[in-house]
Amino acid sequence: MTTDVVLSCEGLVKRFGGITATDHVNLSVHRGARHALIGPNGAGKTTLINLLTGVLEPTAGRIFLQGQDISQLPSHQRVRRGLVRTFQINQLFDGLTPLQTLAMVVSQQLGLGGRWWQALGQGDQVTKRCESLLAQFHLLEVMDQATHELAYGKRRLLEMAIALACQPSVLLLDEPVAGVPAGEREELLQTVAALPADVSVVLIEHDMDLVFRFADRMTVLVNGAVLTEGTPLEVAANPLVREVYLGQGDTHG
Amino acid sequence: MLTLLFDGVAYGMLLFILAIGLSVTLGLMNFINLAHGAFAMAGGYTTVLLMQHADLPFFLCVALAFLLTALLGAVLEATLYRRMYNKPHLDQVLFSIGLTFMAVAAVDYFVGSTQQLIQLPAFLKGRTELWDGALGMGHYRMAIIIVCAVLVLVLQGLLTQTRFGAQLRASVDNQQVAAGLGIRVNTIFLTTFALGSGLAGLGGALGAEILGLDPVFPLKFMIYFLIVVAVGGTSSLTGPLLAALLLGIADVAGKYYLPKLGAFIVYSLVIVILMWRPQGLFTRGKV
């Protein structure tokens, strides 16, 4: 293992009662990676993300970020160390406007989150960063509308913008284009493709075109366990993978 | 001391019958119904009024209380409660508090604010002593325990052996899937709410002698019902049953041994329990 690994887990297990949702998963993500995580529905991809970000507590196993063991670290601390995720179903702050949301996140990220006496967006730093994020995600026109009034495409963009406002070093994207109409996908995909090279990205995705365009490495998850891992070409050529996805062979008779 | 235990069990069984409707409503419709005590009060007053004016025997009145309160519950569910299911909990709380206030004021207006006394039939007024008086069992409390125990068995049977019970359990588990399977969720809600309210009315009628009956009954006892549900959970029958028994015994014993501290102990215990296990003592997993 090179020292260039930014995020990894060893022997990660999660059991719910009798069900093993995550089965001794080993994963390592190197710096600047574009790492795709694929697998059939119910394979445990989102559970893995939840474990890595600290939303769920693992039954066994360890997680490392930038070489440090973060298995016991509360999730908000992991975010502060640069591990940020997006959600498959938009998790937004419906009562706030996109501007307020991003200004708050940026303030939080700049360490101004605890200030109670100074109005939001007082500093130039905050406003400049908000401006660039809003522009980048095409949210300038709707920046003062309440989030619950936004169209789905804009909500999805905001979902991503929030994550980027956190200045991630490792970004976990959970099906970023899920439910986005074809016309607006390009917008979103361009943004994902334009992410800085030193940000490491793990992408859960079902769309194989996207995966092949984007990923330099793939991990296939089936029934909570890693089936195989490698470059997209290697994985695509793997007969086991074809079986899982296309149901070839007598096993599904 | 055995007598205390006996009295506590009787009180606990009564609390269970009173509170089970609340537990199921919360578990099924995710609705915090603080007006549940008002149904109990309705049952109590129905019995009192029927006995006083129609001169009907006690147990018949209790049965009628059950039926009439169930009917009341059904009507209210279909007209009012149904519109509140998807609203935030705060709105539900305020709505049911509003209903309670209306019920309390209405009863005060029509019947007056004095305590209502029930004339128990003669055979219930006696007392049996065992073991040289170590265990004194009032016949009234014995009747309560028997009736409630029978009801618990009936409820358990209803839940596990009937189609309705299966549909109810499915709906509690996952409403969307249940509806997808063709279960008429609206009918289940209506029937369950009516049943729960009816049981509350039955409890109010049966227990009027022990608990007292006056217009502020719903407000006085609401906290007890909430305790049974919060501690016992909403996903089983046994959880609330055990919680109710614990509460009944703790309350009776507390009032006897430490009368100065009164309800203080019960409230503190509940808070400690809820802080330690917010999902309740008897449920598995998260809330």
Binding site: Q108 | I32, L80, D108, L274, Q279
Partner: protein, 319 residues
């Protein structure tokens, strides 16, 4: 100035009518001297409502027992004045200190669990305090209440007069100071993080907000403000009784917020005024059955939808 900066700056500015309303309020005890006591009463309740809105409207914590802190403040201030020192500001400081402790401890109870659990815990604490105040009647006067609280002059100069004018101004000034402080708070990053916690606790955690610490902080602050309101109550009326802990009080203030609107600073004040007016109008009509009409109002309001109270043209849509 860019559009972004403009938008943010504009949002944080107090509206002109805020200043105007406050100017009117501050003049009221002079303009309506015979109603000074009523003015104090409404101001104090409004402050109490404001403290509840901090946790209810801004942070999303449902509490049925906020009166626990109001009562704690009332009895602390009353006892302080009686046994230690009659200076009102010192008394408020005492009330603040004690409610801060109580609030911090109680905040641990609202961190986990469902809405029902939170309801139970908050309700339970208020009931326990009421019981305690009742039992320790040597100290608190029990069911008769604590009487004969005589206050010294405010800032050593402004004596409490029989009409209650000083009391009214005292209450108004304290409330204004709190209002200004809260205005800064709710427009700050901290304030917005509270709303984030209210709207989506999961995402708030996922952007690096330490939700539990925030909750403890805001709950303690709300408790302190409620305690200040309670302290003012005891100091301006010279009296403290068990009903300061009562469920009625917690429910009434909840109602005021619902009427005036949650999540904005004027909600508590407007709600308090409307509630008190409704109460006196309806009580004059049918003195005993205020509870009935209140209940009916609540039921209808909830059916129609809280946020539509101030927009009557939307009522027909849903009934």
């Amino acid at each position: 100035m860019s559009a972004v900066t403009q938008s943010l700056r504009l949002a944080a500015q107090p509206r002109w009518w805020s200043f105007a309303l406050w100017a009117v309020l501050l003049v009221l005890p002079y303009a309506l001297p015979t109603h000074a006591l009523l003015i104090s009463e409404i101001t104090i309740i409004a402050l109490f409502a404001l403290s509840l809105d901090l946790i209810l409207g801004y942070t999303g914590i449902v509490s049925l027992g906020h009166a626990a802190f109001f009562g704690m403040g009332a009895y602390s201030a009353a006892l302080f004045a009686k046994h230690i020192h009659p200076d009102p500001l010192l008394g408020l400081a005492a009330a603040t200190g004690l409610t801060m402790l109580l609030g911090a401890v109680c905040s641990l109870g609202v961190l986990r669990g469902s809405d029902l659990t939170r309801l139970m815990v908050t309700l339970g604490v208020a009931l326990i305090l009421q019981e305690l105040a009742n039992k320790f009647d040597g100290l608190t006067g029990g069911a008769d209440g604590l009487q004969g609280v005589v206050m010294g002059p405010v800032l050593g100069y402004f004596e409490f007069d029989l009409y209650g004018q000083t009391a009214a101004w005292y209450a108004l000034v304290v409330t204004l100071l709190v209002f200004i402080g809260l205005h800064h708070l709710v427009h700050s990053p901290f304030g917005f993080s509270l709303q984030a916690i209210r709207d989506n606790r999961l995402r708030a955690q996922a952007i690096g907000i330490d939700v539990n610490t925030r909750l403890v902080t805001v709950y303690t602050l709300a408790a302190v403000l409620a305690g200040v309101a309670g302290g003012l109550q005891a100091q301006t009326t010279g009296f403290a009784s068990l009903d300061v802990f009562g469920f009625d009080r917690s429910a009434d203030v909840l109602l005021m917020l619902v009427i005036g609107g949650t999540g904005w600073l004027w909600g508590g004040l407007i709600g308090a005024v409307v509630f008190k007016t409704l109460h006196s109008v309806i009580s004059a009509w049918t003195p005993q059955y205020w509870t009935f009409w209140l209940g009916l109002f609540l039921v209808l309001l909830m059916l129609v939808g809280r946020e539509r109270l101030l927009r009557p043209w939307t009522w027909r849509r849903n009934i």
